[in-house]
């Protein structure tokens, strides 16, 4: 099998001579993942690294079962169908919340802020692309705050919004806003002047040109901006949950670190990575369905 993966390939009919990076990398990626997981397992199995620094995979899995309260919910299900009289296993979760509650709280924060950013940043970005006044107004603040790390203005959001949910949402909102606005603005520029001229010479009004030509042409870049934004949102999540959050994946990780519960830190990191990855896959599929012409014109 390894010979098949790594053997040197001669020129093939479908390949273009000298084209960089051609061929599929999926099989190799699968090998990489297996090697990383296998290496992790071997190293912990042999006791080369103390569990405090690197917990064994099975520890993380058993923590997952405990925090996710799998037994508890399985018993509840049995009770529901009449297979058991009462629930035996208690659900403790971590920091008084089961894993799915942590996940739901974080999802609510990230997607709430992301939704707010989407409905505000798309119109503002389009306006910046269409109109020099809007560009003049919004360009300096966006370009100023964009490179500042969210941790730097985290204290400010606490002073302004207190320690409730609104401050957390605001922090993630800021992280999502800039990439969407900037991509929407760049998207406006991707419409060709001929397409606009063609629409006008067929009797279009300014409004029709904006809605039926410019917005559609900008759509691929807007979707790219949204993909970047949601990744920024996840990046900012832990910072947002540092302050007085009761539940959330970020809180879970931070609290676990305080107790040196490395296995839970690992679990939190894996969950964030998995959720972000699943959402990115969905966005890519969505993109293919919504803008099939992307990269083909």
């Amino acid at each position: 099998m390894m010979r098949g993966l790594f053997k040197r390939r001669g020129p093939q009919a479908v390949e273009q001579y000298g084209a960089p990076g051609q061929g599929s990398g999926t099989a190799i990626s699968a090998v990489t993942i297996v090697l990383i997981l296998g290496g992790w397992w071997v190293v912990t199995q042999l006791g080369l690294i103390r569990p405090l620094f690197l917990p064994a995979p099975e520890m993380v899995i058993s923590k997952f079962a405990k925090i996710a309260c799998t037994e508890h919910y399985f018993e509840q299900m049995l009770v529901a169908v009449g297979g058991m009289a009462k629930v035996e296993a208690k659900c403790h979760g971590f920091s008084d919340h089961a894993l799915h509650e942590h996940i739901l709280w974080s999802l609510y924060r990230v997607f709430g802020a992301f939704a707010l950013a989407t409905v505000t940043a798309i119109p503002i970005g389009i306006a910046m692309g269409m109109n020099r006044h809007a560009r003049g107004v919004f360009d300096p603040p966006i370009e100023f705050y964009r490179p500042i790390p969210p941790l730097a203005y985290l204290p400010l959001t606490i002073i302004w919004f207190g320690i409730g949910e609104s401050g957390k949402l605001f922090l993630i909102f800021l992280a999502c806003f800039a990439p969407i606005a900037i991509n929407a603005r760049a998207g406006v520029r991707s419409v060709s002047i001929e397409q606009i001229h063609a629409a006008y010479s067929m009797g279009a009004s300014h409004r029709q040109v904006l809605r039926q030509v410019v917005l559609k042409a900008a759509l691929p870049e807007i979707l790219t901006g949204m993909r970047v934004a949601i990744a920024f949102g996840w990046t900012t999540l832990v910072a947002a949950e540092m302050v007085a959050a009761k539940a959330g994946i970020g809180v879970m990780v931070l609290n676990a670190a305080r107790f040196l519960a490395t296995d839970i830190v690992f679990l939190g990191i894996i969950v964030i990575g998995a959720v972000a990855f699943i959402f990115d896959l969905m966005m890519r599929r969505f993109e293919r369905a919504l803008v099939p012409w992307k990269g083909k014109v």
């Binding site: 001229h197 010479s201 009797g203 759509l219 012409w293």
Partner: protein, 266 residues
Amino acid sequence: MTAIVSLNRVSVEFPAVDGAGVVKALEDVSLDFRDNEFVVALGASGCGKTTLLNVIAGFLQPTSGEILHKDAPIRGPGPDRGVVFQKHALLPWLNVLENTEFGLKLQGVAKEDRLSRARDYLALVGLSDFERYPIYQLSGGMQQRVGLARALTCDPDMLLMDEPLGALDAFTRENMQELVLDAWRKTRKVVFFITHSVEEALFMATRLIVMSPRPGRITHTYDIDFCDRFFETGNARAVKSSPEFIALREEVLSIIYGEETGDGLP
């Protein structure tokens, strides 16, 4: 015959790139477009052909002079003057049929009406079987045919074509010349057609205007009828290889080359 569009001493000036002075893209151009005319503008790069087309389309306001459409001044682009671009400028999120009916949709025409009209013109350019195709799956020649059908569907008085065949390969180009002539004969629009190719210009035009640069102006005008001969015989090669055609081709070429070589002399 009445003029559909007429230009009266139109000049267009741009500020020069280095900021000093102005570039005269068009100087004192007077031109009438009458019913059933196929006017072809020919000239070297920078002679103001595209500027002239943009002025007629309404994308550009002349610095001086007036331009009238049926005796009313042209103030901007409108559906009475359809445009076919060098790069097709179709909308990739719409399929062939949707692109063709797009103009009528903008004008608020009812769905059945605009679909039937769009289908008529797609048939005229021979694309009836490709209604549902996304435009990025079509060849360059087919994309230009959609562009032509789209412009015709709006039923303009005049059709402005800015080097529509410039990006096509030689074989497709000759086929497209015949297709455009055929569409013109059936729809009887006034056509203003820009090209770099002398042979294409002579073959298609009922009136050929030769332009020259710095400042952009019309230097020669020919009334010709090679396209009628093509309609009679249906044989484009025979028309293009006839002695009269070749003689006129050489004459026009010498005008264009004469200007280019004469340009650098003191």
